[in-house]
């Protein structure tokens, strides 16, 4: 899943901010942050609107097309 996210990060640079915690199991700070957000499995991905509203949450792997669709809807044209 991480390679897909890396590709999207490049593709949507400047349109969607990306915070990628790629080794949450070994990164204590990332682990604590993830726990505070209700993350109980990896990978977990969330898309949050500019005003802090959680728009989407994916638990487990998901397709790149699904992420692109959400990004386009959130970032606008």
């Amino acid at each position: 899943m991480k390679p897909v996210v890396d590709g999207l990060q490049a593709q949507y640079q400047g349109r969607v901010d990306m915070l990628v915690y790629g080794d949450v199991n070994n990164d204590q700070k990332a682990n604590a942050f993830a726990a505070g957000k209700g993350v109980s499995a990896v990978p977990t991905m969330m898309l949050v609107s500019p005003d802090g509203k959680e728009l989407e949450r994916w638990v487990g792997t998901t397709s790149e097309e699904e992420l692109v669709r959400a990004f386009e809807a959130a970032a606008g044209p």
Partner: protein, 186 residues
């Protein structure tokens, strides 16, 4: 015309004993005109035993003042009427059952089955101890309410009702949506 006989005599005697006075319309199964004649006959038959007075309309004891009926006088109630007219305050037999021993398993049913157990216990115990039966019914309802409320109180922390998915997120400083990825290097 009805023949004066033992049945009529007994009926009039009973009416006189219970009511203290007999009028023709009180004699059952006899036309009033015939009843008046029967009452007159009754006075004749029993004149040697008891002083009676029949004025053509009312048969009563001779000790009752003559003309009392016309003046609106109402005889005192006979013993039978006095008893039957007493206001009923209820006897011990009429009062609801109380103090009886209720089987202990009913409480088990109440706490394990909740409201249905309370209803069951109420039905079983109401004839033995009405107060305890009512308490069991209320306890069953309370058990059901509590057992329903406790899980509801924990639902948000379990992630239901949006409690787990709606974590607080900071507003973006760039004005763009933010994508968070929590995963592994692969």
């Amino acid at each position: 015309m009805v023949e004066y006989g033992a049945a009529i005599d007994a009926q009039i005697s009973q009416l006189l004993a219970s009511r203290g006075r007999v009028t023709p319309d009180m004699v059952a199964g006899v036309e009033p005109n015939d009843a008046a004649e029967l009452l007159q006959r009754y006075v004749e038959v029993h004149s040697g035993e008891t002083p009676l007075v029949f004025d053509g309309n009312v048969l009563t004891w001779a000790s009752q003042p003559t003309g009392a009926v016309d003046s609106g006088y109402q005889p005192t109630l006979s013993p039978v009427d006095q008893v039957s007219s007493l206001s009923r305050t209820g006897s011990l037999l009429d009062s609801p059952p109380s103090g009886g021993k209720v089987p202990g398993w009913l409480w088990v049913a109440v706490f394990f089955l909740g409201a249905p157990g309370g209803v069951l216990a109420w039905f079983v115990a109401r004839d033995t101890n009405r107060q305890t039966a009512r308490t069991m019914l209320i306890a069953g309802i309370v058990v059901t309410v509590i057992s329903a409320c406790v899980p509801l109180a924990f639902l948000p922390s379990l992630g239901f009702l949006g409690g787990g998915a709606s974590a607080e997120w900071p507003a973006s400083t760039t004005g763009r949506p933010t994508f968070y990825y929590f995963g592994t290097p692969n």
